[in-house]
């Protein structure tokens, strides 16, 4: 990977990486640290990383660091983010807030898997490479996470 390829990765993947880290850790400062460390590792390993694999490499580093940060600090407490509400799902802002809370019910690993699946559209085998899990484990963990999220949504709808 050359210098221009690295800088292109910064322009293209800094936002998705920060988004992923932010949703994983629930903290903007921790997410910034994760992004900076991930790109620094990429720069140091640029001679070994192909450009088309740079995104997976970045998310691999970010996944490990996000999980580590989360494990050090314990379960994050998702709070209302007024400036963010309604931006991703303008048609149903209530559903977005409910999903935010539902996401907080998951453990850090399941949350990261859901984010990799829904935010980045990775397949099971790709997520397995990023998280260093088997494809079967990824499928099982993701199905379990979906059921948890669905049950939370159904329960909230019943209350509402």
């Amino acid at each position: 990977m050359e210098l221009k390829d690295y800088n292109s990765c910064v322009q293209e993947w800094a936002d998705p990486l920060f988004r992923f880290a932010y949703k994983c850790t629930g903290n903007a400062e921790d997410a910034r640290d994760v992004v900076q460390n991930s790109f620094e590792v990429l720069w140091q390993k640029r001679q070994e990383v192909y450009t088309d694999k740079a995104k997976a490499f970045l998310f691999q580093v970010a996944y490990r660091q996000s999980v580590d940060v989360f494990r050090k600090k314990g379960r994050v407490q998702y709070t209302e983010q007024p400036e963010l509400s309604g931006s991703s799902n303008p048609g149903n802002p209530d559903l977005k807030r409910i999903l935010e809370r539902a996401l907080a019910q998951l453990d850090e690993q399941a949350r990261a898997l859901v984010l990799l699946k829904d935010y980045e559209g990775y397949h099971y085998d790709e997520i397995a490479q990023i998280t260093n899990l088997s494809e079967t484990q990824v499928k099982v963990y993701l199905h379990r996470a979906r059921k948890t999220l669905k049950n939370y949504l159904v329960s909230v709808e019943n209350i509402l």
Binding site: L3, Y6, D15, L17, R19, K23, L103, K147, V154
Partner: protein
Amino acid sequence: MNMVTLENYEAYIISYVDGELNAAELQELEAFMALHPELRSEMTAYENTRLLPDTSVVYTDKETLLKQAPKRSISLSQWRSYGAAAGIIALIGTAILLAQHTNNHVTTVVNVTVNKTTIQAPVNPIAHENPVKDTAMQQPAIAIVNHGTKARPGNTSLKPINRSTMTNYQNITPPSQEKTAADKPIEIAKTTVLPEPKTPSIDTVAPVKVQTAVTNTPAETMVANNPEEKDPFAWLPIDDIKKQGLKDLKKTVDKTVREVRSVTNNLKETALVFKFGKKEITLNF
């Protein structure tokens, strides 16, 4: 036979939400859901668990992550080093050029030596009779033409020095004690007085003497040019033509040796001092 059943339909729905079903599996799920419309709400609930990227969350300082190409520049300290090296080289070159072209300095040295020689050689009666030579060596050609006459008035400025030197050296009776300093001058004294009986030939010898004074080894040239000098190759059983060739070769070698000695003698008395701030570098040759 349907692969989707009431026992595994939930897994199919989740795989559908995850986008992991192939076309055949998707078709089977659609057929199954058509047969079980009561499961539609559950399927919708799973579809609602799909997260959408929050595009409003962005990393604001991407510039801090970007890398710049390394600049090819030379630091100031390196420029200083290069400048100092260039200055030293230029000064050394200038000093060498000056040493090669400044023959006056060499002439002065030779004169001092000749003065010593003339005075140090009381054993040579001719040299002793002509103390004028110490001043005559300042301008050898004229001095020898005026051989036996008084010293030129123009050289009076040098006389006190020469006389004082003379008085100092007159007390030195055995000249052989200063062997290293007196070897060459003795020869000079001999050679300078050799043409004395033949006055007409002195004019031809005198220019040569000027050259020898400059090269600081006048004796060798004088000996080589002296027709009365013994032929060093006379004993060789070879033709006269070959002997003449050997003589020419000897003259060339002698000339080269004299030039080398002249440069080395100058360099021995040359020192360069460079000052870099508080540091001082002295180069002695």
